[in-house]
């Protein structure tokens, strides 16, 4: 893969043929992806969701010793300033001393729309470098500079020798992609071009004792870079570290909560392991082709089967499959012992999941394991990265898989038709289904564990508490009905998807059978 010669990362609609406006049965998913039939990505009625700019902040905000310059009007990214508070807390978990997020907006106005925003950005970069002396100045570029044609790349190149910080532009204009997850590629594009690179050999290293050097290389040969995501917690990192250490592997987490130097040192690790293909493929593929670093991107270690598969793949790379199998057996036995009393509370409960494609499928496997029945999904988008997690899951082929980024009206229709007992959802849509009276389990949290074996226990513990008394949401549904017309409730969730649907079940079956 080499997209780095381009100004920005390509839109995922083009690069991956990702779909954002679809509805089908789970039995059709594999066929539709393999056939590249993920629809037109258009709907006749749409509601707001996050754009690339917003989502790019989920990585950028976590960087250490970094100043963020949002290049756009002052509203661009305003949704994420609270991260200054929460991110500081999460940063402190990893490194005791750090500044809170330093957030600057170029606050573009009418005059820049006419005359261009480059001068204002130049002044901002120079000022920020002088004032804060950060290691990185990262510059997400929004819709306005993209339309008026600010040449941020040339500006950054011209300033590179005048500032001490490393400058990283991130081209994330919201209108450029319908697939919000293109944001991850935008950030990695900037990181790969400006922060990644082999470290020069230090003089001390060159003179290293051959025995010391041998030890260092041995340690590196057992070092795994785990690519973390914003939708995980420090507890998740600790759990994955625990499991990898049980295999005598050293885990290093990045790119979140990392700093400038880390992007260079990680290149010496033996293996890059992704937790979610949707998040990382752009980085992994590039680093492999540029620096020859191998990678594994498969499933997300949420749920016992996914965790086991993830662990075995990593262990397999180091020839430790058997050891991993023993570890998995011991962990599962311990888990089954403590889960007994919880399972009773979940028996016969039906769940609906909404959020990122890989996350919802992996979490469904976890819920199945706990004894719940999954009755439907709403994925933010659909592409091939769902497939590994998909293989761990058993659901009837007619189970609905609807594809929409947020779009609460479609979510409401699905919930009304499927009548689950529990909604497991991504941030932003949970308040809608709470008003339908359902108990809600957040799909992820920065503060709780979901991954590995301790994550399963943690989810079980919280889920039992959530299902114990759903009075608040039930009461809310009675008194605060949702603001939709009666005619709306007669429509199916796919009523507003434009153009031809993906292939019919018959067509797909024919394709799958190779007919």
């Amino acid at each position: 893969m080499d997209y780095l010669k381009g100004l920005a990362a390509p839109d995922r609609c083009e690069r991956l043929g990702a779909g954002v406006a679809l509805s089908m049965g789970c039995g059709q998913i594999q066929g539709a992806i393999l056939a590249g039939a993920l629809g037109l990505n258009r709907r006749t009625y749409s509601q707001t969701y996050g754009c690339q700019f917003t989502l790019s902040l989920s990585i950028i905000n976590t960087f250490q010793r970094t100043v963020l310059i949002a290049h756009g009007p002052v509203g661009c990214g305003a949704c994420s300033v609270a991260n200054a508070g929460s991110i500081k807390k999460f940063k402190n978990l990893r490194q005791a001393t750090n500044e809170g997020l330093i957030w600057v907006s170029t606050n573009l106005g009418e005059s820049e729309v006419i005359n261009g925003g480059e001068n204002k950005l130049r002044q901002t970069i120079l000022e920020v470098d002088k004032l804060f002396r950060p290691e990185i100045i990262i510059i997400p570029v929004g819709c306005v500079p993209a339309i008026i044609g600010d040449d941020v790349e040339s500006l950054v190149a011209a300033l590179a020798n005048q500032v001490s910080a490393k400058l990283v532009p991130v081209h994330s204009a919201g209108f450029k992609s319908k697939v919000m997850a293109t944001a991850y590629d935008d950030v990695y594009h900037g990181v790969l071009k400006n922060l990644t690179g082999k470290l020069p050999l230090e003089a001390s290293e060159q003179l290293l004792d051959p025995i010391e050097e041998g030890r260092r290389r041995l340690a590196l040969s057992r070092t795994v870079n785990v690519l973390n995501v914003f939708s995980m917690s420090y507890d998740d990192e600790r759990e994955l570290r625990r499991l990898l250490e049980a295999l005598d592997l050293k885990a290093r987490f990045f790119p979140e909560f990392t700093d400038r130097g880390d992007f260079k040192t990680v290149l010496d690790g033996a293996l890059n392991v992704s937790l979610c293909g949707t998040h990382d493929d752009y980085y992994l593929e590039h680093v492999k082709s540029l620096y020859g670093q191998p990678f594994i991107t498969d499933t997300l270690p949420v749920g016992p089967r996914n965790t086991a598969r993830w662990l075995k793949l990593v262990a397999g790379f180091f020839g430790e499959t058997e050891r991993a199998e023993r570890l998995i057996a011991a962990e599962e036995a311990a888990l089954n012992q403590v889960l007994g009393p919880f399972r009773q509370a979940f028996l016969g409960k039906k769940a609906f999941l909404s959020g990122g494609e890989v996350r919802v499928v992996a979490t469904a496997e976890l819920l199945n394991f706990l004894g719940l029945t999954v009755v439907g999904f709403k994925g933010h988008h659909l592409d091939r990265f769902i497939l590994p997690a998909w293989e761990q899951l058993e659901v009837p082929p007619q189970t609905v898989f609807h594809v929409a980024t947020q779009q609460p009206s479609e979510q409401i229709s699905l919930i009304n038709r499927l009548k689950p007992d529990l909604f497991v959802g991504h941030a932003g849509g949970n308040n809608i289904t709470a008003r339908q009276g359902l108990p809600i389990l957040p799909l992820f949290s920065n503060a709780y564990g979901y991954m590995g074996y301790s994550g399963i226990f943690e989810v079980a513990r919280r889920l039992r508490r959530i299902l114990q008394n759903g009075a608040f949401n039930r009461n809310l549904a009675k008194h605060r009905p949702l603001p939709y017309r009666k005619a709306f409730y007669d429509c199916e969730a796919d009523a507003y998807l434009e153009g031809p649907r993906p292939l019919s079940e018959g067509q797909l079956t024919a394709q799958n059978l190779g007919q």
């Binding site: 754009c51 949704c79 907006s105 573009l108 729309v113 204009a173 809608i432 949702l482």
Partner: protein, 451 residues
């Protein structure tokens, strides 16, 4: 307005902040004509990061949006807007739809106003406002929404509101333009407090926004009011002027929002006189309010005079000009505090600044000059210096100042945007009780630190 300088730690959003003004009207649905993330960003910035106010009945993820992509940037987005609006009319149960534009259509030149006019022709309540983010801040966006509602709905419909019940002319009716929905995290409680002040005088109050207002039906009675009351140093003045030109309604300009007993009584007296109410009725109202507030103030005298907690004397303010004026006047004139640094963050138009700053020079304590500033970096450095000299001061500021408070061991009450370490439900600082609420919050921050 408001885009001349770079801003560190922003306190306001862009002009699309007007979206939340629409969400604040019962039964009003915003239709955002912009890129996919714009409505979501503004919604989150002004709810989740403004005291967790919640998305509102027709706000948050339910906001219809054209989610513009590259093809609309090249070919224009009017057709997409028409389609989204038609969808919203079919799907959403709303009395009025307000199109708000973002940067993209305002640059490529979509004519949303003409489209809204077409839909009004066809009998729908549809309004359009140009709120491209680069045009100004959230306060500007709020004013633009008020102006659009007046020009596109109230003026054309005036005298044709057949459903309106004839009102009892003996009970005066006022329209209030005060705390701004969502951009002031305490707007719901504040507006209710104003309604309760009006009830003390026996008058009807059109709040226009929030749980205690009446949605479009209430808005349609705006032209019938006896008086428009602007309880703010500048936001709402242009609406009052427009309404005066259109309907001849006089207005009362009350630049310092009334916080506490003293100011609430002054406000009620002035309001009563403007409406020609009998002196006795006004006095009964103010006597009742003051007596009640002073019973509570008397009760905290022991805490204030015998406490061994080293209570703060100086306060610094970082807030919009309305709140800075209201909270400061109460603390100085009624509670005997000393005013410290005062930053006004709402970036009001230049020609109004002298008028906004004037009351600060007339408080009972030493006269101060407020600083109009929206760059958090500058404020941070100034406050840092001030707290080095006196760390027993209290800051009435935002959650941005939390690290500063922690560093200096100073006290902080988050009263302005952004607020992410405090949940706001119906808390309010306006009215007789508002002053008491402020004291509770202020001394709570002291006690929480000491014990």
């Amino acid at each position: 307005m408001g885009c001349e300088k770079v801003i560190e730690r922003p306190r306001s959003v862009c002009a699309l902040g007007g979206q939340q003004t629409v969400v604040g009207i019962k039964g009003a649905a915003p239709i955002v004509h912009a890129g996919p993330g714009c409505a979501a960003k503004i919604g989150e910035a002004l709810t989740g990061q403004a005291g967790f106010q919640g998305p509102g009945p027709l706000g948050g993820p339910t906001i219809a949006s054209t989610n513009l992509s590259e093809s609309e940037v090249v070919f224009g987005g009017e057709e997409k807007l028409r389609q989204t609006l038609e969808g919203a009319l079919k799907v959403l149960k709303a009395d009025i739809f307000v199109i708000l534009t973002g940067c993209v259509p305002d640059i490529v030149g979509d004519d949303s106003l003409a489209l809204a006019a077409d839909f009004r022709e066809a009998g729908h309540n549809v309004v359009a406002v140009e709120t491209g983010g680069f045009k100004g801040n959230g306060y500007y966006g709020h004013e633009e929404v008020l102006s659009a509602l007046i020009k596109q709905i109230l003026i054309p419909k005036a005298g044709r509101n057949k459903k309106a019940r004839p009102r009892n002319k003996k009970i005066p009716l006022i329209n209030v333009f005060s705390s701004i929905p969502y951009q002031n995290p305490f707007w719901r409680g504040d507006l209710r407090a104003i309604k309760e002040l009006g009830a003390l005088l026996g008058i009807h109050v059109n709040l226009l926004f929030g749980p205690d207002s009446g949605g479009l039906a209430e808005w349609l009675t705006v032209p019938e009011a006896d008086l428009n009351v602007v309880i703010s140093p500048w936001v709402g003045l242009s609406a009052a002027k427009l309404l005066n030109e259109a309907f001849g309604t006089p207005w009362l300009y009350w630049p310092v929002p009334p916080v506490g007993a003293m100011e609430s009584s002054l406000f009620l007296t002035s309001l009563g006189h403007s409406l020609g109410l009998p002196q006795k009725r006004i006095r009964l109202a103010t006597n009742w309010g003051e007596d009640r507030a002073h019973q509570y103030l008397e009760a905290i005298t022991e805490f204030l005079t015998e406490s061994r907690n080293g209570l703060p004397q100086t306060f610094h303010v970082v807030a919009d000009s309305a709140y800075a004026l209201g909270l400061s006047k109460f603390l100085v004139n009624e509670m005997g505090f000393t005013q410290g640094l005062t930053f006004l963050t709402d970036d009001p138009p230049e020609h109004l600044r002298a008028q906004i700053a004037k009351p600060f020079g007339e408080f009972d304590g030493p006269a101060i000059s407020p600083i109009f500033e929206s760059d958090g970096g500058f404020m941070d450095r100034e406050l840092d210096l001030a707290l080095k000299q006196d760390n027993e001061a209290v800051m009435l500021a935002s959650s941005w100042e939390k690290s500063l408070a922690k560093e200096h061991g100073a006290y902080l009450v988050a009263v302005s945007l952004p607020i992410w370490d405090r949940l706001v439900i119906n808390r309010h600082y306006l009215g007789y009780e508002g002053g008491l609420n402020l004291l509770e919050d202020l001394y709570q921050s002291v006690l929480a630190k000491v014990h």
